[in-house]
């Protein structure tokens, strides 16, 4: 097994490009930090925070699909496992099931179990390729949701758990709009930075090589299977982080919120944004959530799925690498000048 997470990036972009990137990230960071100052509670939580944590779950898919070449439909399931586990080990409205641990114990255990679940899923799914992976992960996702609906001893069946809330730190109510937004922002930033860091590590580079040519990597002596499973483990951790926020945002977790439909929505977000850059899933989540909230103004509120389905179809048909791909192509064309236009 050759899995080593070391940073061996060759940092040789020209100073100009580096400074440009720092300026871009700095501006984006400032905008995100300042955003709540000029937005109402609805825009801070419903749009802002939700985009950040759904984007993080979609990022886990982008990491797996974009860098690992494996499209999984079970990402929301990993998030759901974390949400369920934080309810089981922590505090919920069912004290007879919940163990009532302190948050500093319950959260790491929940993240750990979700990561383990993702690893096991990966061990199964990594045996397959391409479309087969989509099918097996969809089957796992639906089976888990069905299992939760049937199991009353641990998962409390159809009703699931309610009364989930983030821990209160230093007397700060993290459920209040402003703190919850910053909590989501901090988690999203950590997930984003984590993905960017790992993609430039030895492991990340090897994973991308596995995506591009597994046969060659196998011949060189890399353990292709282990790299794929490790990619699943990391995607599980990313999704689990988003899952915690999802559970706290809704205050509840139930089998319906991890059923096939919501699982597919995560894929819709990632594809809408584009699986070519880690910012894509966040863009996709933003568009998705805006459509979800404002479909009521475009068309009948009941017809949200129609709007999102058509938007998804248009993007898949017109720009396979999503909105970010579209943007990249437009800016590249502009910077290259009219002479190099195709």
């Amino acid at each position: 097994m050759t899995i080593a997470i070391q940073d061996t990036t060759v940092r040789s972009p020209t100073n100009l490009a580096l400074h440009g990137r720092i300026a871009k990230y700095g501006l984006l960071g400032l905008a995100l930090l300042a955003y709540p100052l000029m937005a109402s509670d609805f825009w801070i939580v419903q749009i802002g925070a939700q985009t950040l944590f759904m984007g993080t779950i979609a990022l886990s898919l982008m990491w797996l699909g974009g860098y690992g070449g494996m499209v999984s439909l079970a990402q929301l399931t990993f998030a759901g496992v974390a949400a369920y586990m934080v309810a089981v080990f922590g505090v919920s409205n069912r004290p007879d099931i919940s163990l009532g641990w302190e948050w500093w114990a319950a959260i790491p255990v929940a993240l750990l179990i979700a990561t383990a679940f993702a690893t096991i899923t990966g061990m199964l799914a990594a045996r397959t390729e391409g479309i087969y992976t989509i099918m097996i992960t969809l089957a796992i996702a639906v089976a888990f949701s069905l299992f939760c609906r049937q199991n009353y001893a641990i998962f409390n069946g159809f009703a699931g758990f309610a009364g989930l809330k983030p821990p209160s730190l230093f007397g700060l109510n993290l459920r209040a709009p402003l703190p919850f937004y910053y909590l989501s922002l901090a988690f999203a930033a950590a997930a984003y930075a984590g993905v960017v860091y790992v993609t430039r590590s030895t492991f990340g580079l090897a994973l991308q090589a596995v995506r591009d040519n597994p046969r060659r990597m196998r011949a060189i002596g890399f353990n292709v299977y282990a790299h794929r499973v490790a990619a699943y483990a990391m995607s599980g951790l990313l999704a689990a982080v988003g899952g915690l926020l999802l559970a706290w945002f809704n205050g509840r977790i139930s089998p319906g919120s991890i059923a096939a439909g919501p699982c597919i929505n995560v894929l819709v977000m990632a594809v809408l944004g584009g699986m070519v850059h880690p910012v894509g899933p966040y863009v996709g989540a933003l568009v998705f959530i805006l459509l979800q909230n404002f479909a009521i103004d475009l068309i009948d509120p009941e017809r949200f799925n129609l709007v999102i389905g058509v938007a998804f179809l248009i993007i898949v048909l017109a720009s396979p690498d999503g909105l970010v791909g579209l943007w990249q192509r437009m800016t590249r064309r502009r910077s290259e000048g009219p002479s190099s236009q195709r």
Partner: protein, 288 residues
């Protein structure tokens, strides 16, 4: 003993239904490498169209025909207008089918609403049948008819694939698409026919299955999942595999329901995991 026999019969009929749904799915995949995740939506659409027609003309068989025809035409349209333009891009095709299933599901909810519909099968097969060699045990004749129909479809598909010219082309296409095209066959036409038959089978299964059980929103996902598991267990692209997989899954689901009702769905999943761990290509599948 009575429970066991009735459960077995239930499992067989459910397996028959799963076979009807999954055979179209596996046919399309085998030839075109197109994982049609809109297959469940086609099932439900066929059921709704069939119900509406059967309700209007009060003739059940016409409903069956309408269910088949509607989805077959839609399938043909999809193949000609969309999938033909993105040949060889497996993942993108799958994404498109996901988009189509979202749109179709919502359109159907729009037109037919959220209520549950129930068919009335023709009188000949509506009622119950005395089971031979038993002390007066009865079983719904419709389900027996379903079993017979599925067997007939299975044999028909086998004959179609093994005895007709188009079937020969399809089998050749499964093995080597490029070679088939090179030998002068109009591959696009073969694709169009296959997709039409596959989609039509989904609609047909919709009417037949909707009569045995009922039609309601959400059934699309259920049958899509059933088809996925059946073809993964049986081997993608193999009709025989679909039959074997459907029987295994149908029986497992019914035995599970009868003998340990809580986790009926989980047994299906365990079979899936076992199949993947031991034979990733499926029971009847061949290594790609």
């Amino acid at each position: 003993m009575k429970q066991f026999i009735l459960t077995t019969l239930n499992g067989l009929t459910l397996g028959a239904l799963y076979f009807l749904v999954a055979s179209g799915f596996t046919l399309v995949f085998g030839l075109m490498r197109n994982v049609n995740l809109a297959h469940g939506a086609l099932y439900l659409l066929g059921a709704y169209v069939g119900w509406t027609v059967a309700d209007k003309v009060e003739y059940w068989l016409l409903g069956v025909a309408a269910g088949f025809a509607a989805t077959a035409v839609l399938g043909l349209g999809l193949q000609l207008l969309i999938f033909r333009r993105m040949e060889g891009q497996d993942l993108r095709q799958t994404m498109v089918t996901i988009g189509i299933s979202i749109v179709l599901a919502d359109l159907m909810l729009w037109f037919w609403g959220g209520e549950t519909y129930q068919f009335t099968p023709p009188e000949v097969i509506d009622g119950s049948l005395l089971l031979p060699f038993t002390p007066n045990w009865r079983y719904p004749s419709y389900r027996i008819a379903l079993l017979v129909a599925a067997a007939a479809i299975g044999v028909g598909l086998w004959l179609f694939l093994n005895r007709t010219k188009v079937g020969m082309m399809i089998r050749a296409g499964v093995d080597d698409r490029a070679m088939l095209a090179a030998s002068g066959v109009n591959v696009q036409r073969v694709f169009a026919i296959t997709f039409m038959v596959g989609a039509g089978l989904a609609g047909f299964a919709g009417v037949v299955g909707g009569t045995a059980l009922s039609i309601a929103p959400g059934e699309d996902v259920r049958y899509l999942l059933a088809s996925l598991i059946v073809v993964i267990v049986g081997g993608l692209g193999s009709i025989t595999g679909a039959a074997v997989g459907a029987l295994i899954i149908g029986l497992a689901e019914q035995y599970g329901l009868a003998y340990s009702p809580t986790y009926g769905a989980v047994y299906t999943f365990l079979i899936l995991v076992a199949a993947l761990a031991l034979r990733p290509q499926g029971l009847m599948g061949r290594r790609a």
